[in-house]
């Protein structure tokens, strides 16, 4: 039997040293644990449909340099923090001093703050299920710690623009930790973009801890290029009566993977997870979500839509785990999928594990194509084929796009969708 592939030792080289001591120590400890880490194969259940897209070559192991580059000039309507190749660029960031809110790069943390952060990093993710997050923990070069004191409210969305510059092959490891205190409120937009054309890998971890009554909206938009493999993870822990809302909009690539894990740990907590994925050509996108109903009286609502054109491949795996004490849980998961060509593939798997006896748990998954009768109805009114296809495809996702609470993100999504429609329905 062929030995299972392991992470190349090239990925274990020590990274840059400009971090506070407690974070360096954490990184070193996580790196040691990575020796001989098995890489996912098609026999790895949570990578079954996606392992064939994962291509980590040794020249991708090197951390991409962040020196002497400008950082993204993307204009945003709210506050902005720019990251280039996983390192924060203060000169390309713009946010004021805010009462009760601190936004600090890891490199600037004092040892106490760094030690406290190191204690909590990785605590929101199940690292057995999110193998690749461990690589980020061993390799992060910088990061952003956002702390909201009780009752602090961020009055505008905070955009974190993560640019990977792929002028050379390599990898980047952006990292974010959001500590939202009691009854605090924040809207965070993570936008992942790329420049350059060499093969690179972006490996992200974003963690949220929500105190009692905290209200966090997380928006994640991925429009990286065809040369970027993206493996991201988001972990969320929610205390009593907190609310977490997530909007993930992703366009495909050679490998796109996002794991989203939410733990409802305090009574009355609720989460709403929306996702839209669009793939074309030979692109791939894989969303894995897990909602842990740990405490009683929690609500979760999840709606994901995949659209796959050409020979592309989208995957959705949604797990809901209702623990024994989580009575009166209310969980609703819905995943609908649209195949725009016979060559496209979508795999969807709802997974429900319920150990409490007084819960409401609904799930539904469908896969279909555009309806010919609807198409005929539209064109019989003089509407062109392209327009009719667009109307029907948008009908499939419009509700989710419109729910994104930041206009600029909706606009970006619409622009990208129009490019997709031009390419997919050209000559239609």
């Amino acid at each position: 039997m062929k030995p299972a592939p392991t992470l190349s030792a090239a990925f274990l080289y020590p990274a840059g040293q400009s971090l506070p001591e407690p974070l360096l120590a954490l990184r070193k400890q996580r790196g040691t644990a990575l020796v001989d880490m098995p890489l996912p194969t098609r026999k790895t259940e949570n990578w079954k449909y996606s392992s064939k897209y994962l291509k980590l070559t040794d020249d991708m192991a090197i951390s991409l340099p962040a020196e002497h580059k400008a950082g993204s000039s993307l204009a945003v309507p709210g506050y902005k923090v720019s990251f280039l190749n996983g390192v924060m660029m203060p000169e390309a960031s713009d946010y004021p001093d805010l009462d009760g809110i601190t936004i600090e790069r890891f490199a600037d943390l004092d040892d106490d703050a760094a030690a406290s952060l190191a204690d909590r990093m990785d605590s929101t993710l199940d690292n057995k299920a999110v193998q690749m997050a461990r690589l980020n923990s061993a390799r992060f070069e910088d990061g952003l710690l956002i702390r909201l004191k009780p009752d602090a409210v961020l009055d505008q969305p905070l955009f974190i623009v993560h640019e990977v510059n792929a002028d050379a092959s390599g990898s980047a490891y952006p990292r974010i930790f959001v500590d939202a205190g009691r009854h605090s409120q924040i809207t965070l937009v993570e936008e992942y973009i790329s420049s350059g054309s060499e093969a690179v890998m972006v490996n992200t971890v974003t963690e949220f801890t929500l105190g009692d009554g905290a209200n966090v909206t997380s928006i994640r938009l991925n429009t990286e290029g065809e040369n970027v493999q993206h493996i991201g993870a988001t972990g969320v822990r929610q205390q009593r009566s907190s609310r977490f809302e997530s909007h993930c909009v992703g366009f495909g690539g050679p490998l796109r993977r996002h794991d989203l894990q939410v733990r409802l740990e305090g009574e009355g907590a609720e989460c709403k997870l929306n996702g839209v994925v669009v793939t074309q050509g030979k692109q791939h996108y894989d969303n894995h979500t897990t909602i842990e109903h740990v405490a009683a009286h929690c609500n979760s609502e999840e709606t994901y839509r995949n659209i796959a054109a050409d020979q592309s491949h989208a995957v959705f795996n949604g797990r809901i785990h209702i623990h024994q004490d989580a009575q009166k849980s209310n969980a609703d998961m819905n995943n609908k999928n649209l195949l725009l060509s016979n060559g496209a593939e979508i795999d969807t798997k709802p997974e429900l594990e319920i150990y409490a006896d007084d819960v409401k748990c609904a799930h539904g998954a469908t896969i279909g194509q555009l309806d010919e009768v609807s198409l005929f109805y539209l064109v019989s009114r003089g509407i062109g084929r392209r327009e009719a296809n667009v109307l029907l495809t948008m009908a499939f996702i419009n509700e989710l796009v419109e729910q994104i609470p930041v206009e600029q993100v909706r606009d970006t999504a619409h622009t990208r969708l129009n490019q997709f429609f031009d390419q997919t329905f050209e000559g239609a």
Binding site: E372, Y377, R381, G382, G384, R385, L391, L392
Partner: protein
């Protein structure tokens, strides 16, 4: 205006239309009657360009232009309108967006400027009153959750907005109560114009009490077996189809299936 010569059409290899001949002039209202399975709906669908039906023989021209060479959307832009027997529900596309896209596609074709959202809203509200549809319907998904009568009124509303040269009404009376029938008929009568023709496909005579046709044709077994004036419809109402040699509906269906 519309000229149909020796039209044959099949669906899934089964011939439904077996040589239809029909001439419709501008300003005229024609009714096509016939038992179930006679090919009435097939004729409507073929004229509108449904690709599920294959035309195997014959020709159809609209004002001299070969209709069968045109795509469905091109036919619509040239002035063919089909009010569907079963209007399609399209959740996620608002009725307003659908109607405005259609109207602007027509205007674009005619070289006219597109209507903006506010202009169109004003027009749509006026026309919705004409068919007694609450303007709130404009914001709902296309036909989504509409009752049968609301769907039919929405079809007539579309005809009023798109102002076709030839409006084909496929069983527009089916499923309507008497009040809705009156509203729909008023809408259709508002469509009557010297430069427009109307082709009504119906199983029952009752619609023709409200929309009086100039010509009535009986379709059976994929052919027009008798044509006449308004009185033909009344005669059919009284005597059924039997006296025309059409024995019963099952047999007619069986014939058309052969």
């Amino acid at each position: 205006m519309l000229s149909i010569k020796n039209l044959h059409a099949s669906v899934e290899g089964k011939e439904i239309l077996k040589g239809i001949n029909l001439e419709i002039k501008a300003g005229e209202v024609h009714a096509i009657m016939g038992p179930n399975g006679s090919g009435k709906s097939t004729l409507s669908q073929v004229l509108a360009g449904n690709e599920a039906f294959e035309v195997t023989e014959g020709e159809v021209t609209l004002n001299g232009e070969n209709l069968l060479d045109l795509e469905t959307e091109e036919r619509a832009r040239e002035g063919i309108f089909l009010a569907f027997q079963y209007p399609v529900e399209i959740p996620g596309v608002s009725n307003l967006q659908f109607l405005r896209t259609a109207v602007n596609a027509m205007r674009h074709h005619k070289g006219e400027a597109e209507m903006n959202a506010a202009e169109f809203m004003k027009l749509a509200k006026e026309v919705s009153k004409q068919v007694d549809l609450d303007p709130a319907f404009l914001k709902r998904g296309v036909n989504e959750g509409f009752s049968g009568g609301e769907k039919k009124r929405n079809e007539i509303m579309q005809a009023l907005l798109l102002q076709p040269k030839l409006a084909i009404l496929d069983e527009t009376d089916s499923g309507l109560d008497i009040d809705a029938l009156q509203v729909v008929s008023n809408g259709v009568n508002a469509l009557r114009a010297e430069d427009r023709a109307i082709l009504m496909v119906t199983h029952y005579q009752r619609l023709l009490n409200h929309i009086v046709p100039d010509h009535v044709h009986v379709l059976a077994g994929g052919k027009i077996v008798k044509s006449g004036g308004r009185e033909l419809a009344l005669e059919l109402e009284e005597r059924g189809y039997g006296w025309l040699g059409i024995k019963d509906e099952e047999e007619a269906a069986a014939n058309s299936a052969n």
